[in-house]
């Protein structure tokens, strides 16, 4: 049986689906890796919630501008054609359906496309939501990037999320270490599965019923 995809391999797979000309917001953490793998012949405009379109990669050491940071507070650069705007405009882009694709991490996703990615039920730390709810609700397409199961082997794709929701019925597609799964009106539809993993094995690691695309493909590590 082939190994589960590593994170950079999931990022590479998602990058294949980032279309030329798209306005894209990559969530904090793992999703930022996707930008590294988008083919160079595609022109993609990256948005940051703190008021940037046309965001480029990290600057060379010594070139950092403390005023030019991304949503994760890391230093970034501006590409030719970039623009700067204030926070309310940045969130109008996110909330008003102007962002074509967002890629977000997840604690859990439900078969109806509910997303839980901002809080666990740990009451010790103060809650913090940032722009997660705005992005989940407002982007035209919401892609989730996640390990298929937790470190303890529990399913992250469930009939119903047990963690607090970020958005209700917002996820379009889930890219995991084992599969690519669409959220449809009829529930979850597996489109790709890693080589050597049976349908029964994937179903056993998934907490909601999977249906299978007639043209189910092999999810290649790339």
């Amino acid at each position: 049986m082939s190994e589960p995809l590593q994170r950079h391999q999931i990022a590479r797979r998602i990058a294949e689906d980032i279309t030329d000309g798209a306005y894209v917001n990559l969530g904090i953490g793992m999703p930022t890796m996707v930008a590294n793998y988008v083919p160079e012949d595609r022109e993609v405009v990256y948005h940051s919630e703190n008021g940037i379109l046309g965001m480029g990669p990290a600057p060379a050491p010594g070139e950092e501008d403390p005023d030019l940071i991304n949503a994760g507070k890391q230093p970034v650069t501006l590409l030719p054609g970039a623009s700067i705007f204030h926070h309310t405009d940045a969130f109008i882009m996110m909330r008003g359906g102007h962002i074509d694709i967002t890629v977000l991490g997840a604690f859990q996703v439900s078969e109806r496309g509910d997303l839980a990615n901002w809080a666990t039920n740990d009451g010790k730390l103060p809650p913090a939501v940032g722009g997660a709810m705005d992005l989940a609700v407002g982007a035209r397409q919401v892609f989730v990037m996640t390990e298929h199961v937790t470190r303890r082997g529990e399913p992250k794709i469930l009939q119903q999320c047990t963690y607090p929701l970020t958005g209700h019925g917002v996820v379009n597609r889930i890219y995991t270490s084992l599969a690519v799964i669409d959220v449809t009106a009829d529930g979850l539809l597996a489109r790709e599965i890693i080589d050597g993993l049976s349908r029964e094995e994937l179903q056993a690691k998934t907490g909601a019923r999977l249906r299978w695309a007639p043209d189910l493909q092999v999810l290649r590590a790339g």
């Binding site: 940051s48 919630e49 703190n50 008021g51 940037i52 501008d65 403390p66 005023d67 030019l68 940071i69 507070k73 700067i84 705007f85 204030h86 926070h87 309310t88 969130f91 996110m94 909330r95 509910d114 010790k124 730390l125 103060p126 809650p127 913090a128 939501v129 940032g130 722009g131 997660a132 709810m133 705005d134 609700v137 407002g138 607090p164 929701l165 970020t166 958005g167 209700h168």
Partner: protein, 222 residues
Amino acid sequence: MIDKFVGSLAQAVADVPDGATIMIGGFGNAGIPVELTHALLDQGARGLTVITNNAGSGETDVAALIREGRVAKIICSYPRSAGSVWFERLYQAGRIELELVPQGTMSERMRAAAAGLGGFFTPTSAGTILAEGKETRMIDGREHVFEPPLPADYALVKADLADRWGNLTYHSAARNFGPTMAMAARVTVVQVRRRVDLGALDPECVITPGIFVDRVVAVGEA
């Protein structure tokens, strides 16, 4: 003659009373009006409600106001940044109240206050714990949550250049919440790097028109 410049940081915040609601700009460390915040700390007002995206980090600016017990309540989206130790400590001790607001809802609530609107309905947070107890309405088949305007007595904002009419430009993504807060507060107090002559700013490039600005202090290069 209009001249919105005041002689000192202390003068700029001298009349802030106990119990005032104060917006403080910034996202991460970009755009925080550090000098004005320290002037407010020295001024001594207590029982403040602070509206700001993060809850301060380290020992300076917002974190210092919290540490010194000046803040009764904070309204923010993400109070859990690296180094937000003072907020976390007081929160766990039950000595500071938190109103957690999705980031885009926060900026739009401020914009609503600025525009004289009585609030708005948004799908952001619908079906989540942040919508509990709030009025909802189905609009075009989608659940929306009512959010009231978020005004303030004062806004403390960091800009780059100002003329004596209070016209402002900003530097890079340090702009973030500045323009919205400047519009939303009853008294807007701005610190700038440098004062320029009236007419020196290209009217096409003024980001915050002086009508939204009450007091300006030049603090020099960072």
